[in-house]
Amino acid sequence: MSKSLMIVDDSATMRKIIMKTVRMSGLEFDRTEEAGNGAEALEKLKSAAVDIVLCDINMPEMNGVEFVKQARQMDCSKNTKIIMVSTESGQDLIDNLISSGANGYITKPFTPERFQEKLTPFMN
């Protein structure tokens, strides 16, 4: 089944690193998108929804927490799986993100195996 992925991070280099690591994990996507912050990601989702979003938290303009809240209020992304990817590892923050609508959490630094573990349940 074809799947689509969006990577949201203010660092273009980190977006490339995440993409490389996803490929190394063995997971395949037919379409991939990138966005530099939450606001840009929301605009892209309105144009074309994706199946999975990998989203940083600390970003200028609109951070990952606000992105999750707003994405969950949009019809086009209500079924999108949102996995946060961040150096933040506080349990309170993770709990808050999950209750806001995030579907998972990956802590930086990360490995291909970690992406495989967290994304595989959403690939079927």
Binding site: T13, I17, N58, T87, S89, T107
Partner: protein, 161 residues
């Protein structure tokens, strides 16, 4: 407040986690005396600030050649020669970001309220941080792949209540 030696070991452990997990370069303590400036020649300095029960900043200082090597490894490239300085700086910023994230995780039992900024990176020569007064400095001088010197410095103080 955390002892300086404890903080330096925490910095080294955090840096090792980042370099071994995502950059695939060997990092070892160089055990050298504290340094005031960056390596000779073109250099980059990534820094990230934090506040909460503890406040201050973490900096990573390294040569441009070293930064290019790190960026190439992070991106899975054979060489970093083709990368722009902006891309190389981005990679250094992420190293600072991930190292600070790992430090934060390691000291969260003592300081569970640290808020971390977005990293900034500057390039130039003779770079050194100017943290202001009253900060304790934890500094770890390391060697990457037995070639490149990389210095991690953490300036920190207990927040005033």
């Amino acid at each position: 407040m955390l002892e300086q030696m404890t903080m330096e070991q925490t910095i080294l452990d955090a840096a090792r986690e980042v370099f071994e997990t995502m950059i695939f370069m060997d990092i070892e303590s160089a055990g050298s005396e504290p340094q005031e400036t960056s390596p000779e020649g073109a250099a980059l300095m990534g820094s990230i600030t934090f506040r909460g029960g503890l406040e201050g900043c973490l900096t990573i200082c390294l040569s441009e050649a070293c930064a290019r090597s790190i960026a190439a490894n992070m991106l899975g490239m054979d060489s970093g020669d083709q990368l722009s300085l902006s891309e190389v700086g981005d990679a250094v910023g992420e190293v600072a970001n991930m190292t600070m994230g790992s430090i934060k995780h390691r000291i969260q039992n003592t300081y569970n309220d640290l808020q971390v900024s977005i990293p900034t990176v500057v390039s130039g020569r003779q770079l050194f941080p100017m943290p202001g007064e009253d900060f304790t400095r934890g500094q770890v001088c390391t060697t990457l792949d037995e070639i490149f010197p990389v210095t991690f410095s953490m300036y920190y103080k207990q927040a005033q209540s």
